[in-house]
Assembly symmetry: C2
Homo-oligomer: 354 residues x 2
């Protein structure tokens, strides 16, 4: 039994793997999902269902389009200003981590980014909160969850400026009010599905105003009006995303999985705070439920602890090099039993090393 705490691409439900493997062998009438045309009614049904499930699970209001694209969040870093930032105007960005700072860097091709606040001097250990968004910003961009540092935004600013949010690592993990956002994007490879697809949820009325000539593939309006099928989509990634969204619905949807995610996070953070060998790395109020970052009070024990858990079926616990220590990523598909297993190992290790 493997316990996959990897940061992403990450664990998906075992039943999704089984269904996906079956479709690779025989999706329909003996044909593999990898050899069917994306223009068949069967695959159009897949795209339709995946889109509908995103809308249903996130309670997406009227007036928003849901599209499946390629290129991950990194391509969105450029598509957002291409579509939303008119020549000569400024966009506001919250710098809460390396992905936010990469998004900021991409603005320079198109115009000016105004950084409203940054926690970089503190190695991104918290989410900046006291900041102002200039009313003339074309949009305000933030990152809802910072995978590397283990921080998460639990409140979003009240503003008339359209909020653009990179939700790559916590979308579908908790209830959000989509109507508060102008645009949400997320690489699929955490809670949506496998790598190779990107979901964008965009309020239609904010589009078509940048005044720029946009290459067709990077134009949200073109992608939306073609129903994610402007060109050949990433067929398999969308198919597996659909399977995973079905699984989430069968679990009771986002509100139910949020309860489980809260329980998983509560259990692990409680152990980190209680166990004398360990300590968390970021501000308590901003602690992410998706990525739990922690270190050991005695750094010399970190290597032996990592070996100990790896010998006991734990995968992907090594922290990102810019934080060190450990990172337990606990996406939707990670069962709470895996969290309990990790906690047991922390306790066993502590008993031996106190």
């Amino acid at each position: 039994m493997r316990h996959n705490f990897g940061a992403g691409p990450c664990i998906l439900p075992q039943e999704v793997f089984k269904q996906a493997a079956q479709a690779v062998l025989d999706f329909k009438d003996g044909l593999s999902i990898l050899e069917i045309s994306h223009r068949t009614s069967e695959f159009e049904g897949v795209v339709d269902e995946a889109t509908r499930l995103v809308k249903e699970l996130l309670n997406v209001p009227e007036g928003y389009s849901v599209i499946f694209l390629q290129g991950g969040a990194s391509l969105q870093f450029a598509m957002v200003p291409y579509n939303l930032l008119p020549e000569g105007q400024t966009a506001s960005y919250l710098d809460s981590g390396i992905w936010a700072s990469k998004a900021i860097k991409e603005v320079s091709t198109f115009g000016k980014a105004n950084i409203v606040a940054s926690s970089k001097p503190d190695n991104y250990t918290f989410i900046p909160k006291d900041f102002e968004i200039p009313a003339d910003s074309a949009y305000f961009h933030c990152t809802s969850n910072n995978t590397i540092y283990g921080t998460e935004m639990f409140s979003f600013p009240e503003t008339n400026v359209p909020i653009v949010c990179d939700m790559s690592s916590d979308i579908l993990s908790r209830v959000i009010d989509v109507s508060k956002f102008g645009l949400i994007y997320a690489g699929a490879q955490k809670n949506i599905g496998p790598a190779g697809a990107t979901v964008v949820i965009v309020k239609d009325e904010i589009l078509g105003k940048s005044g720029r000539k946009i290459p067709s593939m990077l134009d949200y309006q073109i992608q939306a009006s073609n129903g994610s099928m402007y060109n050949t989509p990433p067929v398999f990634s969308i198919y597996v995303s659909m399977l995973n969204l079905r699984w989430l619905k069968s679990k009771g949807g986002v509100a139910e999985i949020e309860k489980e995610n809260k329980a998983k996070a509560y259990a692990l953070y409680t152990e980190i705070d209680r166990n004398p060998l360990f300590k968390g790395t970021c501000t308590v109020e901003d602690r992410s439920r998706m990525n739990v970052c922690f270190v050991m009070n005695n750094p010399e024990l970190e290597k032996p602890f990592l070996k100990f858990v790896e010998d006991n079926g734990v995968e992907g616990l090594k922290g990102h090099r810019s934080v060190g220590g450990f990172r337990a990523s606990m996406y939707n598909a990670l069962p709470i039993t895996s969290v309990h297993h990790l906690i047991d190992l922390m306790q066993t290790f502590a008993e031996k090393h106190q």
Copy 2:
């Protein structure tokens, strides 16, 4: 037994489907290929092998980079001028089909396209040949195979202007001299692998000269220097591409598959020319080996013929709406036995309807 003549995403070898399905269940130590980090040594090995196999199979010379990207050929339509067309300069394009014309349309965001020749007035039934490429063109763009119309370029112009070629539908189907090209791109979903990946082969020395600010994800130099891993790549699509490239190598490589592709095309075109019910739709010398387009002399027989072959295990033979009739796509993985099966059905049908 299904005979998949679909135009793409298309047939891949059955053994590739089996290996791919197995990896979805267990790629390494019980973990699915869909849940492993792209930064693991195992997946880095996959990208390395896939890249090496493209180089080996196409005999890519020194001084060229091979990269796996996302977004299909359609994103290349924009990336090519972004990277290769300096402000104020002109790029030359050969208009040999709908994909070529889409590539031409995307240039308008960046500058001017000079159409050196077009077969559009003749519904793209041939490849234009007598044209001149102005010496001051930033590059010359062509499409080596036109999926919809069933034409293929069997010779490329001699010019000092860098040749950029969209080889989406015939790459790896025949021996080419990569050194004659500045840049080759291909959506994976014909002879490379499943949808969701794009291969680019680019001569390093032509890059870095457009003088434009290029978004990182669209910058060939950034993608090349990051070894196709600037951000999370389409893991599964690259993995299956690697499996398929291994298969091609095991078959003896491109020169061997070219012989088979010639034999398949020869057999089917011979039947089309011989059988009084059928006729080809394009100029004989430009007939594609990948996509064989044909119609019936009596259009009223087309529906019954399509039903007849579909009842006999043939998939995807319906022609594109802009040509009508039939299109037999015969990519590398389509066995010659499927072609013989189709020919048998054509003969049986002719016997009944003469």
